[in-house]
C-alpha cells in the first residue's frame, strides 16, 4: 500500500486541516442551537459529521480553483476560505452578510475565493463545475473545478450529463459524491441504482471510494484526482461515504433513522476525533495544540454569532439592487 500523502503533510497543513474541520463543526453546532432558539430563519441544512470531506477535498485548493456546492454548503464554504462572520451574518439575513443578506444559507457564495455558491437545486452544481473547469482550461490558469453532490444529487440528470460532458471535453474537473446515506428521509441504498464507481467507469472516468470520516483517505483521493485534472488528464469521481449528525434540515425529527443511529455515529464516526487519534498516534501533533485551536475557534464562532445578532438588516433600497450589472 502506498503511504498516505495526507500523513506527509506539514505540521502547519495538518493544523490548518484540523482548524477547518473544527470550524465547520462548531459553526454547525452553533447554528443548530441558534435555530432551535428561534434566532435563525429559513431552511438550514447542516454539515456536521461530514467535515473531513470538505476539508480533505479543499485543503490544497487555491483561489483560482473553483468549487460548486449544494444546499448543505456551509462546510464547503468554510473549507474554501469564506469568512465565517460573513457567512453567519448571511444566515441571519444581515446587510453585511457575504451576500448582503439576499442569499441566505442555501446561496452563500464568494466568487473571489473560488466558491461558486451553495445551491438550492439538487444537481445544480455539476454543470457549473464544467463551466468553471472550461474557464480554467481555456484561459490556461492551471485551475481545477470541484463539484460536490449528495447521494440524492448523484441521480439527477444534470449531474450525469456533466460527467459525460467533462469527459468529452476532457475538463479539469473532480466530482465528489458525498453519500451520507440519505436524501431527505430516503436511503441512498434504495434510491441509487447500481454503483457510484461503476457510474464513473461508465462515463470513462476514474473513480475512488473513501471513508469520509477519515480526513486522510479523503485527502489522498482528492489529491490524486486534483493532480490528474491539473495535469490535463480529465475528470474523476470520488465517492465519499459519510454521515450527517443532524436532520435533513433543521426541524427534521429524523424518525426514519435507526434507533440510536446518530449517537453511535457521534461516538464512533467522528472525523475530528479520528483525526486527533491519527495525528497523535503518529506523533505528528500534540493534543494541546489541537485544544488551543478548539478554544480559538469557539471564540470566533461566538464572535460571529454576536456580531450577526447585532448587525443591521438590509433595507428597502437594497430590495431592487443587484438584479443586473447594468440596468
Amino acid at each position: 500500500m502506498q503511504l498516505s500523502r495526507g500523513m506527509q503533510l506539514s505540521r502547519e497543513e495538518l493544523l490548518r486541516a484540523y482548524r477547518g474541520m473544527r470550524t465547520i463543526r462548531d459553526f454547525e453546532e452553533r447554528v443548530h442551537d441558534e435555530f432551535a432558539a428561534g434566532t435563525i430563519p429559513g431552511f438550514v441544512h447542516l454539515y456536521a459529521g461530514e467535515e473531513a470531506s470538505a476539508i480533505g477535498v479543499c485543503l490544497d485548493l487555491e483561489d483560482k480553483d473553483r468549487i460548486a456546492s449544494t444546499h448543505r454548503g456551509h462546510g464547503h464554504c468554510i473549507a474554501k476560505g469564506c469568512d465565517v462572520t460573513g457567512m453567519m451574518m448571511e444566515i441571519y439575513g444581515r446587510r453585511d452578510g457575504l451576500c448582503g443578506g439576499k442569499g441566505g444559507s442555501m446561496h452563500i457564495a464568494d466568487l473571489a475565493k473560488g466558491m461558486m455558491g451553495a445551491n438550492g437545486i439538487v444537481g445544480g452544481g455539476p454543470p457549473l463545475v464544467c463551466g468553471a473547469a472550461l474557464s480554467a482550461k481555456t484561459l490556461k490558469t492551471g485551475g481545477v473545478a470541484v463539484g460536490f453532490v449528495g447521494d440524492g444529487g448523484s441521480n439527477q440528470g444534470t449531474t450525469l450529463e456533466s460527467y459525460n460532458l467533462a469527459r468529452v471535453w476532457n475538463l479539469p474537473a473532480v466530482f465528489v459524491v458525498e453519500d451520507n446515506g440519505y436524501a431527505e428521509s430516503t436511503a441512498s441504498g434504495w434510491a441509487v441504482a447500481g454503483d457510484q464507481l461503476k457510474r464513473a467507469e461508465a462515463f470513462g472516468m476514474p473513480g475512488r471510494r473513501v471513508d469520509g470520516h477519515d480526513f486522510f483517505e479523503v485527502y489522498d483521493a482528492a489529491k490524486e484526482a486534483i493532480d490528474r485534472a491539473r495535469a490535463g488528464d480529465g475528470p474523476s469521481l470520488i465517492h465519499v461515504c459519510l454521515n450527517r449528525y443532524y436532520g435533513h434540515f433543521e426541524g427534521d425529527a429524523m424518525t426514519y433513522r435507526g434507533e440510536g443511529e446518530v449517537d453511535r455515529l457521534r461516538a464512533e464516526r467522528d472525523s475530528l476525533a479520528l483525526f486527533r487519534k491519527r495525528v497523535s498516534e503518529a506523533g505528528l501533533i500534540e493534543s494541546g495544540q489541537l485544544d488551543d485551536i478548539d478554544r480559538e475557534v469557539a471564540l470566533i464562532i461566538d464572535g460571529a454569532v454576536a456580531a450577526s445578532k447585532a448587525a443591521p438588516a438590509p433595507t428597502l433600497a437594497d430590495l431592487t439592487t443587484d438584479v443586473y450589472v447594468s440596468y
Binding site: 439575513g93 443578506g101 441566505g104 446561496h107 430516503t186 436511503a187 438588516a313
Partner: protein, 336 residues
Amino acid sequence: MAKKTFRMAINEAIAQEMRRDPTVIVMGEDNAGGMGAPGEDDAWGGVLGVTKGLMPEFGRERVLDTPITESAFIGAAVGAAATGLRPVAELMFVDFMGVCLDQIYNQAGKFRYMFGGKAVTPLVIRTMFGAGFRAASQHSQCLYPVFTHFPGLKVVIPSSPYEAKGLMIQSIRDDDPVIFFEHKVMYDDEEEVPDESYTIPFGEANLTREGDDVTIVAFGRMVKLANQVADSLAGDGIGCTVVDPRTTSPLDTETILECVADTGRLVVVDEANPRCSMASDIAALVAENAFDALKAPIRMVTAPHTPVPFSPDLEDLYIPTPEKIEAAVREVAGRG
C-alpha cells in the same frame, strides 16, 4: 363539518379520490418517506406532511417515493397518465420546474393537440409556491404565470382550505394535465371543510366580496389579503368586489369583465414577478374588453422585478401587503 387545515383538506381530497378510483396514484420525493431506511415508514408524508398517511392506507404500490430525478418521475407521471393511471405527482417546490419542464409543457401539455385529439392525460402535478417562508430565491417563487402561458395545461390556485379540497378533487377527475399550486405559507390555515367529497369546477371565479366601487382580482394567498383590505375599506365607504379566479387557465374572463363593467375600476393583486404575469394578463384582458367601462387606470400590485430575497426584512418588503393593496384601491377609487 369540521375545521381543517389547508394541508388536511388536500390530503383528504386525495385520500377520498384514491378510495373512489383505484387508478389514482401518488408519487414524489419522500411522499411517504423512509424508503430503505431503518426507522419509521411513512416517515415524512412529503416535506411538509401533505401526503402523510396515504401510504399506510394505500400501500407503496399506490404511494410511490422517488429518487431526486424530476425529469424521470414527473415524466413517468405523464407517461402513466397517458396509459391508464391518474397520477398525482408532487413537484416539491415549483422552483424546481427548471429540471423537468419539458415533460410538462412539451409532452403532457401538447399530447392531445399533437396527437389530433386522441390522447388523454389526466395528470395532477401538486407543487408548492410562494414567498414568506424565508426559503430564499430558489424556493419561494410563484411561477404560475409561466404555466398559464402554455396551452394544454390547466392551472389551479386554491385560496383557502375549502377551495383546496374541492379544486383538488376536480383536478384529479379532470382529464387534462393540471398544475395545482399550494401556497406554502397557507398549510396551517384553517376553515370549515365538509367531510364529504365535493368538486369546484374550473373556470368559475368565486366572488368572495361584492361592492360597487372597485374590482380586486387576486390569486392564491393574495385573496385573503384582498378580502382584508375590502373589509377595512368598507368602513370607509369604498365597496370592493373581490374576485378569486381559482384557475388561471381556464380563466373565467366573463365574470371578471362583468365585475369591471359594474365597478369601472380594477386592481389586480399577484404575488408573482410583474413581467408577463397574471397581473398583466388580467389588466390586458380588461383593457381590451371592458375598456369603455373603465373609469380609472388599472393598478397592478405585484412583487418587484427581482428574485425573492432571503433576508426576512427584505422578503416582507417583497411580498404584496394589505397596505400596498389598500393604497392601490384608494388610488383607483380616487380616494388616495
